[in-house]
Amino acid sequence: MTAEYSAGSKLEKILKSGQKAVTCECGPPRGADADHFRHKANYLLKCGDAVNVTDNQTAVVRFCSMAACRILMDMGIEPVMQMVTRDMNRIGLQSNILGAAALGIKNLLCLTGDHQSFGDHPQGKNVHDMDSLGLIHTVKTMRDEGKMASGTELQGRPRMFIGAAANPFADPPEFRVVRMGKKIAAGVQFIQTQCIYNMEKFRKFMEMAHDMGLTEKAFIMAGITPFKSVGMANYMKKFVPGMDVPDSYITRLRGVPKDKVAEEGIKIAVEQIHECLEMKGVAGIHLMAIEWEEMAPVVLEAAGLLPRPQVTAD
């Protein structure tokens, strides 16, 4: 990992300084209500080194990631713009990368995206001109070589700190680290994992990543989502593909009085954060308090991750 900055974002600087970084997540609303988004984001103001803005997550239409990133920047929050290849071809994707860079967005998370059959427009057409690997390579080529996917020269390179997701819990298990390695080889500098619940599996994943030298090449941030309720834990276990929720957590949540479940969920998240941060190669935490943004500061405070380091982006 080179000491020079490829984008000079706060997130990049903190990760490269060797400090454990924290990112949070804020999903734009299903409408044009910017105040609602600002209200949620406000909870994250001093929480994360950067805040991810999802791109029509679960294939549900929301206001666009780039606009939401701009709103965050106006609030003094550094955004991580998520971008999926489901909805745009290489023309649209590259145009948005350039536009995002022009607005000053410095962190980009490259994803393929959830299939539209899970969302609110299942009859829509998906694009998939390229997958997340193609997008990673595209951004890197634009940034480092000043060229588009077609080879056309750019006038002004997009300075982006390039990220991607990894799911340690999908199948085939032995290929998950290899696939993350492909993303890193294609140009990824930081990884945010899928929500981790099966700590043992994640530990093995990190050991493999470490053995393959991947933790030296990219910053791996452990994805944590606190349980809000028993129902949520059950839903995650049964219905969210690629999610591995051990029964022990569900039993534990069931074992406390109803009005204490959320508290217990937070306690679990804090324990998970500590456990993850002790693992070799975990460079930070990606806290996804889904529709529970107000709890992000509580979790991070309890985990001893606040206050965040004061760093200025380029």
């Binding site: 390229m130 996917a149 199948d171």
Partner: protein
Amino acid sequence: MVIAESKPLAEILDMVKDFKKIVVAGCKGCVTVCCAGGEKEVAILSSELRIARKAAGDELEVKEYTCERQCDPEYIEPLDDLVADTDAVVSIACSVGPQYVAARYPNLRVYPGLNTTSIGGATEHGVWKEYCQACGSCIIGNFGGLCPIARCAKQLLNGPCGGSSQGICEVGKGSIPCIWQLIYDRLQNLGELHKLTEVQLYKNWSTSRDGGLRTTIREELKQ
């Protein structure tokens, strides 16, 4: 082969509701093999239409014919006499057929009786699955001979994604095998797993329908 299935009878009845005389034209090609548009299906659909219209007190005269193929102009020709005195043709070939019929008879109404679903084959009696999307530049050699373009819901070139669980794709409510798991298993059997560590970049979609209507020309065969 081209796989197709019958449209719902109500939809076909609605297409022909204004007519008194129609021809139902089948095809002895792919749609005969996938039991959607051969001689037998022509007879069944024709009877269903006659019965339904009779029951509605508005009788429909239906003539039946099954072309050798509907994707060659010379095999459409035998319809000339039959359609001379007809209001419309319902073609139960793949959707190539009705377009050939339309091309031959500029003043005749033509309707599709089938939905063309895919290029594929039978996997068991009565079950047909998609195997090819006719992208025009076959890359399955990179993937153990299996196609992620047709068979992965996200057309990943670097799968499997996080939605692959116990060999099953997250799309399709448990009914679709994850093609990337199958590719993985196959390359493992062949001792070629290293192929999956190579990053596959952009696919050239200009040979697919994205490049515009495709024409295949074999100069040596042209007359």
